[in-house]
């Protein structure tokens, strides 16, 4: 087993700076995407509760709320994940040349 405990070629200040940029930017991105997603998860039951007529309106053979939860929800998570993966890779790419 190797020793995973040391990174010798970087000073403590450099390590600190790296964490301050790479990790912080990634965390910011994750929180932003999560916020959109949580808004959706929290919002749908609220919509069902307070706007039952709107959510119950017919769209094709389904009600709006069935359409959202049964069908549209999946592509929506795909879009969110795609955006996240692309952004996250571009953050990594930007920083890889730094050291």
């Amino acid at each position: 087993m190797n020793d995973p405990h040391e990174i010798t070629h970087l000073s403590e200040e450099e390590q600190e700076r790296l964490l301050g940029t790479v990790m912080r930017e990634q965390m910011g991105l994750s929180l932003k995407v999560a916020a959109v997603f949580i808004l959706l998860l929290v919002g749908l039951p609220l919509g069902n509760f307070y706007l039952p007529d709107l959510m119950g309106s017919k769209v094709g053979g389904l009600t709006l709320t069935w359409l959202i939860l049964g069908i549209l929800f999946y592509p929506l998570t795909w879009v969110l994940s795609y955006v996240f993966v692309k952004q996250s890779e571009s953050i990594e790419h930007r920083h890889e040349g730094e050291f």
Binding site: M1, I7, V42, Y74, E92
Partner: protein, 679 residues
């Protein structure tokens, strides 16, 4: 025994064994066995993770839950799939970059604490066995219902085949099998739907149109013989009848009932309703006005019904102090709920007809399906499932949290991320997992809607779980129906096998790598750990078969719920804070995991014991709701415990925590990444 489904099941079993043997030729080193040599490509790993994740609960259970509970149950597939978004955002990349073999490796390495490995490994085994039991039960029950095998046969077949595959090939051996099984399952859940749609004219996408009248309940085929289980199967031994019209109940072979009570749960202060008021006994088959029917013969201990005896349900207005109870300007009415002591055969028809129904195709001749709500409640949010304790919003949110956080905290899924070559591949894999799971789950509500439209008789004996297997048999072309039923049976079998193989690898890894290689004999050579893996696989496989045989009377959804509840309140907080907050200490993480995990599983077990009336505590509906769905308090409680205890023990933050955080987050291209374990 049905020959065609049997052939399909045999083919999927043989394909699984064959693929396993083929893949084994390429599996040699310890790294191959534990993490498939960290060389699984994005596409294959995404297929394998999806294959592993789509268990019996997903393949049969989700469609059954949607058929049973309507809109509310749509949250299950959505939550199961959405959990991966949280996994992607917060866990997948850092977890892979850490480069361990098992999740307990992460627990030890992140906090420099061998003790913490022991806590973590206990949780892996706990969650693993809780998740294994329902897979085994599913295999036993499915094979019993489609092929008339005895309960143990399906369990022994799944257990033996997968134990063999895992013992000879380890993680590398099962990766390709699980990936293959994902595509089998996707085909099995989708193809029959299109055929059924084309041949019956129902699309399943027309729920609002089909169930347009909110007051109507689906009618079952007149004269169908319904087999119902006895009290061993609580709560599946009950029939709750609709209040909107009476139902004629015939027991052709007699029946022993344990209880007759109101279908609607009485609220405090309401006048009690007697059995006589709910059910009338008819001496002959001819329908008479229910008011004049003589009372049911019986006593306080239960009711013995003669073969051929006929009863009729009545509608009762709920009263409080003699005054009708009102809701939304209408009198609240209820009808009977009959609980069976012994297994029985029941036949239900609409009153006003003779027992010999000549025109079985007349849908109006059937009785209203018991055990289901009218269409309006089924179709709209906050129906029977979430309104059970009177706090539908709370129940909905708690369920969402349990599913989302639980998915991100299942160790047997998480361990698969170590098979990716690097953190970037781990993220891309998760993206594809979500696409693959979404494609699968899209079909589950369609099965649910088709089940309610075409086979409401499944409500009567709580058999909605088998909708996926039974629906194809409705087709007029019997051979085609058998073939499609064979396809879904093979899909179900693939589900038991792929999930169990993942669980077995994860638990064998815990025994061989964590318990043997790190705790009992630290520094054991890679070869001896490989040997330990094979022995552990056989031992755990055997134990799983035995456990599966013991849980015949347990409820599948309940057992899966336990696994999710523990995962959501233990591993999810650990991985979330462990990856992103450097102030987390081993004491904080350990306390949060233990308290969160134990409290939520304790709450669920107490809730189940209250259901079974083993416990007779008098708890308010609010508390009861929080006990049944604990995630909404247990996850924050676990996170908070971790933060508070970590702050109090800040002195034990590892000295090199900065390096650990870099290992978790620095992109591979920087050259800072090193796998924690790589021999």
């Amino acid at each position: 025994m049905e020959l065609i489904p049997f052939i399909f099941v045999v083919v999927i079993v043989l394909a699984t064994i064959g693929l396993g043997i083929w893949a084994t030729g390429r599996s040699k080193t310890a790294s191959d066995f534990f993490v498939a040599g960290r060389s699984v490509s994005v596409f294959w790993n995404a297929s394998a993770i999806s294959g592993e994740y789509l268990s019996a609960a997903s393949f049969m259970g989700v469609a059954g839950l949607i058929m049973k509970n309507g809109y509310d149950a749509l949250w299950y597939p959505v939550g199961y799939a959405a959990g991966y978004l949280f996994l992607l955002l917060f866990i997948a990349g850092p977890l892979r970059r850490f480069g361990a073999y098992t999740i307990p490796d992460f627990a030890e390495g992140r906090f420099d604490s061998p003790t913490f490995r022991k806590v973590a490994v206990t949780f892996v085994l706990f969650i693993g066995f809780f998740y294994t039991m329902p897979q085994m039960k599913g295999a036993g029950v499915t094979m019993a219902s489609i092929l008339n095998w005895p309960y143990w046969a399906g369990i022994v077949v799944v257990g033996a085949v997968i134990t063999f595959n895992v013992a000879i090939g380890g993680m590398k051996g099962i990766t390709i099998v699980q990936a293959f099984q994902y595509w089998v399952k996707l085909f099995a859940i989708s193809a029959p739907v299109f055929v059924i749609m084309a041949l019956t004219g129902h699309t399943g996408l027309d729920a609002a149109k089909t169930f347009g009248d909110p007051a109507v309940t689906p009618r079952i085929t007149p004269g169908a013989e319904i087999k119902i289980k006895g009290k061993a199967a609580v709560p599946a031994n009950a029939m709750s009848f609709a209040a909107s019209e009476p139902t004629l109940i015939t027991f052709p072979k007699g029946a022993i009932l344990s209880k007759i009570g109101p279908a609607r749960k009485p609220e405090p202060g309401e006048d009690p309703i007697t059995a006589d008021a709910l059910v009338g006994h008819l001496p002959g088959l001819q329908y008479e006005a229910s008011a004049t029917a003589p009372p049911i013969p019986g006593n306080a201990e239960g009711y013995t019904c003669e073969p051929g005896s006929v009863f009729i349900t009545k509608t009762v207005t709920v009263t409080k102090g003699g005054q009708p109870v009102m809701k939304d300007g209408k009198e609240v009415k209820t009808s009977a709920k009959i609980e069976f002591d012994q297994p029985a055969v029941v036949s239900l028809i609409k009153p006003g007809l003779k027992s010999e129904v000549t025109d079985a195709s007349d849908p109006e001749a059937g009785a209203l399906a018991p055990n289901t709500s009218p269409n309006g409640k089924w179709l709209n949010p906050f129906g029977a499932m979430t309104s059970k304790w009177g706090y539908p919003m709370l129940y909905t949110y708690s369920l969402i949290i349990a599913l989302v956080c639980g998915t991100a905290g299942l160790p047997h899924i998480l361990v698969r991320f170590y098979t990716n070559p690097d953190g970037r591949a781990a993220k891309r894999t998760t993206l594809w997992v979500m696409v693959m799971l979404g494609a699968f789950y899209f079909f589950t509500p369609i099965w649910g809607v088709l089940g309610r439209t075409l086979m409401p008789v499944l409500y009567a004996n709580g058999a909605t779980d088998s909708a996926v297997i039974k629906l194809p048999t409705l087709l007029e072309n019997k051979v085609l129906g058998q073939v499609l039923s064979g396809v879904t049976s093979a899909g179900a079998f693939a589900a038991f096998m792929s999930t169990f193989s993942g669980l077995l690898v994860s638990m064998s890894g815990a025994f061989a790598h964590d318990i043997y290689g790190k705790i009992i004999r630290p520094g054991a050579s890679a070869d001896s750990r490989l040997k330990a893996f094979k022995i552990a696989a056989i031992g755990v496989g055997f134990l799983s078969i035995v456990l599966g045989l013991l849980v015949e009377t347990f409820d599948i959804a309940t057992m899966v719920g336990w696994a999710f509840a523990i995962g959501a309140a233990s591993y999810f907080p650990l991985l979330l804070l462990g990856s992103w907050w450097r102030g987390l200490t081993r004491y904080g993480a350990g306390a949060g995991m233990l308290l969160g995990g134990l409290c939520s599983v304790g709450a669920i077990i107490c809730s189940m014991l209250l259901d079974k009336k083993v416990l007779t505590w008098n708890v308010s509906p609010l508390i009861r709701s929080l006990m049944e769905q604990p995630a909404i308090w247990a996850v924050p409680f676990s996170l908070l415990t971790m933060v508070v205890v970590s702050k109090a023990t800040a002195g034990s933050i590892p000295a090199n925590v900065r390096v650990k955080m870099l290992r978790l987050h620095a992109p591979e291209g920087m050259g800072l990444s090193k796998d924690y374990v790589n021999d």
